[in-house]
C-alpha cells in the first residue's frame, strides 16, 4: 500500500488554489415527483474524509450513488479529478464503494472477493497476490482469507468489504453507512480504525451516515443534509459550535433553542433580549438591531448551581428544577425558567452523590448561567 505523507489536516484550506478532487455542481435527482437531491454544489479535496450526514431520505445515499455511477443525474455535473463523469459508466470510474450491506460475493472466499477488482484490471498474478496479502494484513484478516463471507462475523465482513474497496487504490472511496450493521461497542472502536486506515492509505473518503457521533468522530469536514439540500458544510467543530440554523443546531447534539430580539449589534458583540434575561454574545454577527432571532444554547455549556437569590444580569437567570435524569456519566436536568420555558442542562457526575442533601433535586431553586462565548445565534 502506498503510504501518503502529504495528507494535511485541512486540505480544503491548503488546496484552495488547486482543483478540487470532486466537484459537484447543481446536481439534481428526481424520482417521479420526489426530488431526492436538489441542486447541490460541493467541492471535496484530495485526502479529505468527508461525511454526508442526514436522516433517512435526505438524499445522502442518492448523492453517493450518483458519484459511484449507479444513478443518472437529472441536472448538473460531477467531475472527479477534472474529468466529467456524465458518460463514464460505474465500471470505469476511479471510485470504489463500500456498500451498507457489504455486498460480498457469497460464493467466493475472502481472498477471491478482494482479488475480484484487481482481476478486472488484469493486474499480473504476482502483483495481485501481493496486493491482496497487503490489504488483508492492513485489515487484520490474513488468517481468514480462505473463508467464505458467511463464515465470518459482522465486524470481519465489514473489514473484507473495506479491503475489497481499498485494494484497487481508488482516487475516491465511497462508504455507505459503513458501520451501521455493527453493534455499538464495535462501531465505536471501528470508527477510529477507519479514520486511521484512511490516514495510512491517503485515499479520499466520502462517508454517508445518519449517526451524528460517527460523523463527528470520523470526518475532517461534513455536510448536514435535509430534504435533498445541504444545510451546512464545515468541520465538526464549526458545525457543532457555530450552527447556522435551528435544524443543524438541533440535529447535531442537542440544543435549547429560544427566540429573542437584537438590542445591540457591535463589531465584537451582540446583545439579545429574551423572555427571561439578556443574552450577551462576545463575537460579532451580522444581525440587524430590532430583528427577531433564534438563539441556541448547548445543555453542557450551561452552569447550574443551587441558589435562592434572584439572578440578575446578562447570561444568567433563576430557575426551578422540574425533573432530573441520572445517566451515569452525566445527569440531565430539566429546569423551568421564569417565563415557563424548559431548558435541558447536563452536568458530569464528577463525584458519587453520597449525601442526598448535596444533590440538586426536584423543586430546587437554582441559578443557571453561561459564558458570553456560548450562546449561538441562528439565522433560520
Amino acid at each position: 500500500m502506498t503510504v501518503s505523507t502529504t495528507v494535511s489536516a485541512a486540505p480544503w484550506l491548503e488546496q484552495k488554489e488547486q482543483q478540487p478532487l470532486v466537484q459537484i455542481r447543481g446536481v439534481t435527482k428526481k424520482y417521479g415527483e420526489v426530488t431526492a437531491v436538489d441542486n447541490v454544489d460541493l467541492d471535496i479535496y484530495k485526502g479529505e474524509l468527508f461525511c454526508l450526514l442526514g436522516g433517512s431520505g435526505c438524499g445522502k445515499s442518492t448523492l453517493l450513488r450518483m458519484l459511484a455511477g449507479f444513478e443518472d443525474l437529472n441536472a448538473g455535473m460531477i467531475t472527479i479529478d477534472g474529468v466529467d463523469m456524465a458518460d463514464v459508466p460505474a465500471y470505469e470510474r476511479p471510485t470504489n464503494m463500500m456498500f451498507q450491506s457489504y455486498a460480498l460475493f457469497p460464493h467466493m472466499t475472502v481472498e477471491k472477493n478482494v482479488a475480484f477488482g484487481l482481476e478486472q484490471d488484469h493486474v499480473p498474478k504476482f502483483d495481485l497476490a501481493d496486493r491482496v496479502h497487503d490489504i488483508l494484513k492492513l485489515v487484520e484478516l490474513e488468517d481468514f482469507k480462505k473463508r467464505k463471507p458467511k463464515q465470518l462475523s459482522g465486524g470481519q465482513r465489514q473489514r473484507v468489504a473495506l479491503a475489497r474497496a481499498l485494494v484497487k487504490r481508488p482516487k475516491l472511496l465511497l462508504l455507505d453507512e459503513p458501520l451501521a450493521a455493527l453493534d455499538k461497542k464495535l462501531r465505536k472502536q471501528t470508527q477510529f480504525e477507519l479514520a486511521n486506515i484512511q490516514d495510512k492509505v491517503g485515499v479520499t473518503f466520502i462517508v454517508v451516515t445518519h449517526d451524528q457521533e460517527e460523523a463527528m468522530t470520523l470526518s475532517s469536514r461534513m455536510a448536514v443534509m435535509d430534504a435533498g439540500r445541504f444545510k451546512q458544510i464545515g468541520t465538526p467543530t464549526e458545525i457543532y459550535e457555530f450552527p447556522e440554523s435551528r435544524f443543524v443546531a438541533d440535529f447535531i447534539g442537542s440544543a435549547n433553542i429560544f427566540e429573542g430580539r437584537v438590542t445591540e449589534d457591535g463589531a465584537d458583540h451582540v446583545r439579545v433580549e429574551t423572555g427571561f434575561c439578556e443574552v450577551f454574545v462576545d463575537h460579532g454577527h451580522s444581525v440587524k438591531v430590532g430583528s427577531r432571532i433564534w438563539v441556541a444554547l448547548r445543555p453542557e455549556k450551561i452552569r447550574l448551581e443551587k441558589s435562592d437569590e434572584v439572578a440578575e444580569g446578562p447570561n444568567q437567570t433563576s430557575a426551578i428544577i422540574d425533573d432530573v435524569g441520572y445517566l451515569g456519566e452525566t445527569s440531565i436536568y430539566k429546569v423551568r425558567l421564569p417565563n415557563d420555558e424548559v431548558f435541558d442542562v447536563t452536568m458530569p457526575n464528577q463525584s458519587r452523590p453520597t449525601h442526598a442533601t448535596q444533590r440538586i433535586t426536584w423543586e430546587d431553586k437554582v441559578k443557571i448561567s453561561w459564558d458570553p462565548s456560548s450562546a449561538m445565534l441562528l439565522h433560520s
Binding site: Y91, N96, S101, H107
Partner: protein, 320 residues
C-alpha cells in the same frame, strides 16, 4: 476428612409442573413423533412398495395368467420354498437395439428440451424478477395460468396449430409466405414444441425463486470493481443462480424423459420415446415383465441426475 455436605444448603426443590401440564407436554412430544412418521409412511406406501412390486414383476416371466407373469416364490411339494429370479427381461432389453435406441432418443429429446427450456426460461425469469411491482404478479400469474387448462386439451390445441391444414400453415399460406404446408405435426420438432411449452413453468419458477433472493447490490459491487455487465453475469449472477438452474433442469429433464402423451400425440409413430415403448409393452403386448424392466432401467437412468440434484442442494444450503 470433613464432610462438607452438612454445611451445604439444601438444594432448592425442582419446581414440578402441574400434572395437567405434564400430560399436555407428553401428548405434544408424542404428536411430534407422529408428524415425522407421516412422510416416511407416505413414501413407504406410495413409493417404495410400488417400486418393489415393479421390481418384482421385472424379474418374473411372462405367463398366460392373471396377472400375466409368474410368481417369484414357488413352493415345491415337500414344503421347500424356492425363489426364481429371471433376468431375461433385462438381457432382452439390452440385446434388442430398439430399446437401446429408444432410451438414447428419449435422453436426447429430454436433454435438448431441458436446454431449450433453460435458454428461454432464464431470461424470462430474469425479466420477471426485474419487473415492476404491478407487472410482477401478473407475469407470474401468466406463467401458472396454463395449468388451469387440462394438459391433454393443450396438447390437442398444439395438434390443431401444427397440422398440415392447421392454423400456422393456413396463416403462412394466406400470407403468401409458403405455397405448400410445412410438415410440422408428427415430427420431432412438434415433440420439442410440446415438451418445451409444457415444462417451461417448471424451469421458470425455481429460477425465479432463486433469482428473487439475489441482492442487486452484488451486481452493483461487481460493476463498481470494474466488471462489465457480461463479465458480471458469468462471474456473479450465473454461479449464484446455479441452484435454480439445477432445480429447474431436473424438474424438466426427469418427467420429460419418461414423457408419453406428447410424443404419442405430437410425434405419432415417427418419434420413439421410452414412455411410448413402455405403454406398448404393457397394454398392447401385455408383456408386464418387459414393461416393468423398461421402467426399472428408466428409473436407474434417472436416479443419477437426482443424486446430482441432491448434491447441489446440499452444497447450496451449506453456502447460504
Amino acid at each position: 476428612m470433613t464432610d462438607f455436605t452438612e454445611d451445604m444448603p439444601e438444594p432448592l426443590p425442582v419446581k414440578q409442573l402441574p400434572i395437567s401440564r405434564q400430560f399436555m407436554r407428553r401428548i405434544q412430544n408424542r404428536w411430534r413423533q407422529i408428524v415425522t412418521v407421516v412422510p416416511f409412511l407416505w413414501l413407504l406406501v406410495f413409493f417404495l412398495a410400488p417400486f418393489f412390486i415393479v421390481a418384482k414383476i421385472s424379474l418374473a416371466e411372462l405367463a398366460i395368467a392373471s396377472p400375466p407373469f409368474t410368481s417369484l416364490i414357488e413352493w415345491t411339494g415337500d414344503g421347500i420354498m424356492t425363489i426364481r429370479l429371471v433376468f431375461d427381461n433385462f438381457v432382452y432389453i439390452w440385446e434388442d437395439s430398439l430399446y437401446f435406441d429408444t432410451y438414447v432418443n428419449s435422453l436426447k429429446i429430454s436433454v435438448t428440451s431441458t436446454f431449450l427450456c433453460l435458454l428461454f426460461g432464464y431470461p424470462i425469469a430474469y425479466a420477471i424478477v426485474r419487473s415492476g411491482p404491478v407487472a410482477k404478479p401478473l407475469l407470474l400469474f401468466a406463467i401458472i395460468l396454463p395449468f388451469w387448462t387440462s394438459f391433454l386439451l393443450r396438447v390437442y390445441s398444439w395438434m390443431g396449430l401444427l397440422a398440415d391444414q392447421g392454423t400456422i400453415n393456413n396463416l403462412l399460406i394466406a400470407l403468401g409466405i409458403i405455397d405448400e404446408p410445412i410438415r410440422m405435426l408428427y415430427t420431432e420438432f412438434a415433440v420439442y414444441i410440446g415438451i418445451v411449452y409444457t415444462y417451461m413453468p417448471f424451469m421458470i419458477l425455481p429460477l425465479y425463486a432463486n433469482m428473487e433472493k439475489l441482492d442487486n447490490s452484488l451486481n452493483e459491487a461487481a460493476a463498481d470493481l470494474g466488471s462489465r455487465p457480461t463479465n458480471t453475469f458469468f462471474k456473479i449472477t450465473l454461479p449464484l443462480t446455479m441452484p435454480g438452474i439445477v432445480a429447474g433442469s431436473l424438474l424438466v429433464f426427469i418427467p420429460a424423459t419418461g414423457e408419453y402423451v406428447i410424443p404419442d400425440l405430437l410425434g405419432g409413430g415417427n418419434v420413439q420415446m421410452i414412455g411410448r415403448v413402455l405403454y406398448n409393452e404393457f397394454s398392447r403386448n401385455s408383456d408386464w415383465p418387459v414393461a416393468a424392466a423398461v421402467a426399472i432401467v428408466l428409473l436407474i437412468i434417472l436416479v443419477l441426475p437426482i443424486m446430482v440434484f441432491q448434491h447441489y442442494q446440499g452444497k447450496a444450503s451449506e453456502e447460504q
